[in-house]
Amino acid sequence: MAGDAAATVDGERIRAFIRRFAEKVAAHKDELTALDAAIGDADHGTNMDRGLQAALERLPAEGAAPADLLKAVAMALISKVGGASGPLYGTAFLRAAGAVAGKAALEPGDVAALFKAALAGIQERGKATRGEKTMVDALAPAVEALEAALGRGAALGEALAEAARAAREGSDATIPLVATKGRASYLGERSRGHRDPGSLSATLMMEAAAETLAGGPAS
């Protein structure tokens, strides 16, 4: 494992993370849209895919700092996605960029700070808390797991893997919930029994992080 030997995360790792996130969303595009069709307006997969493909085109050249790459993703998502997921993910990446501004390489604590800032941005923009059947239900437990694992001395790769598992469990836990945010909220009780599409895209993001940031296979 290269994990401990290369404990810092440079711009190229961040680039690999962004690419993997885009690949995963493209691969799950139809699933995301189908989940959204059940409780929203059937465009989450198409919109996120359009935004992330635009982000890949706009990524700065090799040697760019993590913050510059994250900011490029933020601006692409804000200007291409629309709906609620554009401003939510856009704000998340913008805040993530802010959390690591000026750093050429990130320590594990910086990676945790990056995701914590992303979560805070989403919560602030969407005014959502846990249990409301949104992407927060995947991201909040992921950030908690990441911080807890690093706090007890786990390597970054292991901590990110735990975060990704926590995100997946958090997404699973949205299935029985009643939505109170977004267009799904108008369904009330009828939103029960469906996974929240935002919680799945957030899980894909954390899985992409676990597979790339700690020196996973290059994409």
Binding site: A37, G82, A84, T180, K181, G182, S185
Partner: protein
């Protein structure tokens, strides 16, 4: 799906381009980012009104750009909110130096994108205020939902605030008027059939041949109740009742009334609804001071209608009567 389109991806661009070609003396269309602006904008010293939302609700909002109403409109993808780039560039293109008022329908995506756009414009030194329209009484409890949806009341806010801005009112004053309208306007809609979003290609929801849905949203969001089809008079009572109750309309008050088609209902049927609405209000001693009957905020080809009532005073009536010249609304000029 059977639609008069070329390519699914080009629907919004081509429709917006067509609007511009049809009304070159009223509006000009910017392709990238996509927005519709008043042909003579920016009007120096005038507060600029900018609105927008998902496409598929025509003539809202592009059809209401022109003298006495909106300075710019930002059409999003079908039923998807526009993005901040569109709002920022539209606002900058029409800003006459007196500030910008965003008129925002209460949908999560619209609210967040307009919020971001307002932050970006304020960072550039342009004064921005926002007014939220949330008039759909079909959504009863805002604690457990994203709140009341913004629907037909938007037309009233755009017209009346637009008249105030045209008359030279300050940003604070235009905002106050817009808020007064949004506080005093309520709507409710119903559907006989679903719409079909071009990108999806199949109806958004299924309604039986003998069924209707009361309280439906303009994107096909579920309403209050699905039931067997009833005669138009009963449907009108089911829509008007909650609107009147929610507004708390009393004998002696006056309203501006709109019977709006969802896109697939003939004018003949809308007049049948208006006939009953006029009777209901007359029985309650409420005067219809002005009215609109037609397609103003639609949901693609959905069959159905909505009723909107605005409690009016002399000031609002005077602003309503002020000249307006847009592709979809024109009087006094």
């Amino acid at each position: 799906m059977k639609k008069l389109i070329n390519r699914v991806e080009a629907v919004v661009d081509e429709a917006t381009e067509g609007l511009g070609l049809a009304h070159p003396h009223l509006v000009r269309v910017n392709a990238e980012p996509r927005f519709v602006a008043r042909a003579d904008a920016p009007v120096q010293g005038k507060v600029s009104l900018v609105s927008g939302g998902g496409s598929g609700h025509e003539p809202l909002h592009g059809g209401f750009v022109g003298r006495g109403m909106l300075d710019a409109a930002c059409p999003g993808e079908v039923f998807t909110s526009p993005v901040p780039d569109q709002m920022v560039e539209a606002a900058k293109a029409v800003h006459g130096g007196a500030g910008v008022l965003f008129i925002v329908k209460n949908y999560t995506g619209d609210v967040m994108n307009f919020e971001l756009a307002a932050e970006l414009l304020q960072a550039e030194g342009i004064a921005v205020r926002s007014v939220l329209v949330a008039d759909d009484v079909a959504v009863e409890n805002s604690l457990y939902t994203a709140g009341r949806r913004g629907v037909g009341g938007t037309v009233f806010v755009e017209k009346i605030a637009g008249a105030a801005a045209e008359a030279g009112a300050s940003l604070e004053e235009v905002e106050r008027i817009a808020r007064q309208v949004s506080d005093n306007v309520r709507s409710m809609g119903m559907a006989l059939t679903s719409c079909t979003v071009p990108a999806k290609g199949s109806p958004t929801f299924e309604l039986g041949e003998d069924e209707m849905e009361i309280g439906i949203g303009i994107h096909g969001e579920p309403g209050r109740e699905r039931m067997k089809l009833r005669p138009a008079d009963e449907i009108t009572e089911m829509l008007a009742g909650p609107v009147i109750e929610d507004l708390g309309l009393k004998q002696g008050e006056q309203v501006i009334a709109m019977v709006n088609g969802m896109g697939g209902t003939p004018l003949m049927e809308l007049y049948i609804v208006y006939r009953k609405l006029a009777q209901i209000l007359q029985q309650r001693g409420v005067a219809i001071a002005r009215n609109l009957v037609g397609n103003y905020i639609t949901s693609l080809e959905m069959q159905g209608c909505s009723i909107t009532l605005l409690r009016a005073d002399d000031e609002l009536l005077r602003l309503w009567d002020a000249p307006v010249h847009t592709p979809a609304l024109r009087w006094g000029v």
